[in-house]
Each structure stands twice: as C-alpha cells, then as structure tokens.
C-alpha cells in the first residue's frame, strides 16, 4: 500500500491561498448544519400538514396529499436536486425566472433547502399519517361526541398523541436529513461532501480528508439523536407510552 500519510494536513495552507484546509472543513460543516436544519423546519411544517390532511374525511385534499407523497418518494433525491436547480427556474414566469437565475442571493443554498425540505416533508407526512391512524378509533369518536369540532379534535386529542407516537421514527428521519444533505454537493452547495471532494483533489490526502468529514457527519447524527431523545423524554405522557429505558 503506497499511501503517504500526513496527519498535519488539516493545518496546512491550501494550494495558492491563505486559508487552511481546516477552515474548508469548518465552512463545510456550517453549510451542512444550515441546510439540514432549515430543511428540517420546512419538512416538519409541511409534512405535519400533509400527513394530517391524509387522514381527514376531505377526499380531494387527501388525494392531493397522496400524490404529493408519491411524487417525492419515487424520484431519486439527486434527480430532485437537478430538477429544482435546472428545471424549475425554466418553468417560472420570465421575469421571475431571470431573477432566480441571476440575482437570487445564496441560490445554491436556497434551492438545496427547498428541495431537501420538500423531499423530507413527504417522508414525514407518511409517518404522521401512520401515527394518527395507529390511534384507537374511539379517540376520534370520543372527541366528536364531546362536541368538539373536527379541527378541535385534531388539535386537542389526536395530534398530541400522534406526535408522541412518531417521535422514534422522526428521530431517524432527523438523522437522515443530515445524511441526505450530502447530496447537495451536486448543485454546488459548499457543504461537507463538497469540501471533502475539493480537499481530496487539492491535497491528495484522501484518507485523512474523508476521515475528518466522516467524523463530522457522525457528530451531526449523534447530536440529532440526542436532541430528539431529550424531546422524547420531556414530552412523555406519564403512564402512557413507555420506552425501554
């Protein structure tokens, strides 16, 4: 194995520049976290809404929501990134299209966030629907029988329980967002994977580079996991949903 090890590479200056490779990695980490968290917020709001709609008696809305989920689940994420980056601007009205292509600030970041947010929203919608459907039918009926309107039943009876039930799958979805954000390198977001490829080419210290990036992804996944389990603990209803610990 003719590999030349050089563990000090992180503190070396990049070729023809003043920055160190470490600063590239830190920038990458920052973008990864930014894209992931922003898309997570979009995904939670939209996914919660769409998942809820799919369980209501509104037939047309449920159909629309189903179509939404199928659309986002059956196209590879990378293809979706390309669609949002290259195709969607072409479909907009001419003035807006020109603005998006030329003037929109942080174009790559915005596109990546919207794309990853909508992609994840479809997956969350699926979880939310499953969560609501897993509740005993009596809960909905009891709410309605007590004179609550349908929205009130959802607000005060169904959703609070469903949200707690789906926390474990949401945890892995939250970790997935960080993993999936790596695909955004393809449209030029300066996140970790982009930096990994750039640093590998520039420094030719592939193993050291990928190792650092992998560790940073680990940290993201671990932090995501901890945050969610903290929420799970805080929101637990005493005597209702028991976890192993």
């Amino acid at each position: 194995m003719g590999y030349h090890w050089h563990w000090g590479i992180y503190f070396d200056k990049i070729k023809g520049g003043e920055e160190t490779y470490l600063s590239w990695l830190i920038t990458g980490f920052g973008w990864t976290v930014a894209v992931s968290l922003c898309s997570w917020i979009i995904a939670l709001v939209l996914g919660g809404l769409i998942g809820t709609v799919r369980t209501t008696p509104l037939r047309w809305a449920a159909r629309l929501a189903n179509a939404w989920v199928e659309l986002f689940r059956n196209i590879p994420l990378l293809v979706q990134f390309f669609l949002w980056f290259f195709v969607v601007p072409e479909l907009l009205p001419e003035k807006l299209s020109l603005w998006v292509k030329q003037e929109m600030p942080a174009k790559e970041f915005v596109t990546a966030t919207v794309c990853l947010g909508l992609f994840t929203s479809a997956r969350i919608a699926e979880q939310v629907r499953a969560g609501i459907l897993s509740l005993p039918r009596g809960q909905r009926l009891a709410g309605l029988a007590m004179g609550l309107t349908l929205p009130q039943t959802y607000r005060h009876v169904l959703l609070p329980m469903a949200c707690r039930i789906i926390l474990p799958p949401l945890t892995s979805e939250f970790m997935n967002v960080f993993k999936n954000s790596s695909v955004a390198f393809a449209i030029g977001v300066l996140e970790l994977t982009f930096q990994a490829r750039q640093m590998q080419e520039d420094s030719e210290q592939g193993i050291e580079t990928y190792l650092a990036v992998t560790v940073l992804y680990f940290i993201c996944a671990f932090a995501a996991n901890r945050v969610m389990s903290w929420i799970e603990k805080r929101t637990r209803v005493p005597g209702y949903i028991t976890t192993a610990k």
Binding site: M1, Y3, I75, Q80, F82, V87, F185, A186, G206, I207
Partner: protein
Amino acid sequence: MGQFDYTVLKPSLPFIWTGLKFSVTLTLIAMSGGIVIGTLLALARLSSLKPLYTGAMLYVDLMRSIPLVMVILWFFLVIPLIIGKPVGAEYSAIITFTAFEAAYYSEIMRAGIQSVSKGQAMAGYALGMTYGQTMRLVVLPQAFRNMIPVLLTQTIILFQDTSLVYAIGAKDLLKAADIAGKNYNRPVEMYLFSAVIYFAICFTLSTFVKRLHKRIAVLR
C-alpha cells in the same frame, strides 16, 4: 432557453438505454449480494458468539450512520489502495453498493428472523437438525417470505440511490441523461426525462409491492 424541445429525446435514447441498463444491473447485483451478505450479518448479530455479534453490529451501525455519498467516495479511494491498481467507477460502484446495502438488508433480515416463532427453531433442533440445517431449512425460508415486501421496498430505495454514483462519474441513467443534456445543449429536457423514467419504474414497483403486502398479510 424558452420553449422545451423534445426532439432531442429520440437521438439520445440508445445512450440513455445503456445508462438505464447499468443502473438496473447495479441494482440487481447489489440486491442479490446485499441480501446474501445481509443475511449472514443478521445471523452473526443474533448469534451468542460475542466477537461475531460485536463485529456485525459495528459494521451495520457504521454503514448506517454515514451518508451514502461518503461511502461511495471512501470505497473509490480505498479499493485501489488495497488491490494496488486503479478500478473503474463502475466496478467500484458495484462493490460499494453491495457492501452498503448489506447493512440495510441485514436489519430487515434480522427483523424477519425474529418474526419466526422460537418454537420453530426448537422443533428443528429437537428433530436432530444442526444449527445450519435449522436455519437453512426452517427459519430462513419463513423469515425471507415474511420480509419480501420490505426487502422489495428497500430494493426500490436502492435503485433510486444508484443515481449517487454520479459522485464518482459512473455512467448510470442519470449520468447518461446528464451527458446527453450537455451534448445537445438541452439539460432541462434530459433531466426531466430521466426523472420521468425513474418515477415510472419506482411508482410501478411500489404499487406492486403494496398489493403484494396486502396479499401476504391475508395469507398469514
């Protein structure tokens, strides 16, 4: 860019077809290899031998916590270093996906094995079968049958994930569309076209899996 021009689709079809064939080949090889290795990993994880158990657990957890793109880049970097000569992006992709998917399939097979009631294995042992015979003839066939819908769903995800070989430049469906788009200067049409193909295949398969799931559920 103005109006869409769909006339570029026809001359690029042979090219796209080659790409699609690679995507499907990669999916099928990674699926078969992944299920075989995954089953072995699942057995290792359920075994009472500590080193086997720990090794399998570490491998599965490691693969599942790294983004696939990084795994693809890792293998593309490390395989040539280990075997001492460069490998093509296509071969690298096949090895990567088999190794990566094995981790996901192993979790499914583990659930499958655990879904078979304990009495079945005990009955096997009571009949004088060895561990290997019990697993091969009694437990695994049932585990596999119970998990067919989930295994297929994972395969659909695998098919979508193969598009990520873009990172190392292997010529799959998406890369073919990408190149064709650049050749004819019509990237928008080509990306849309590839999205339609992916959607058609995945939607058809997932509808089929849903039906299968219902039928198997009734059978049990």
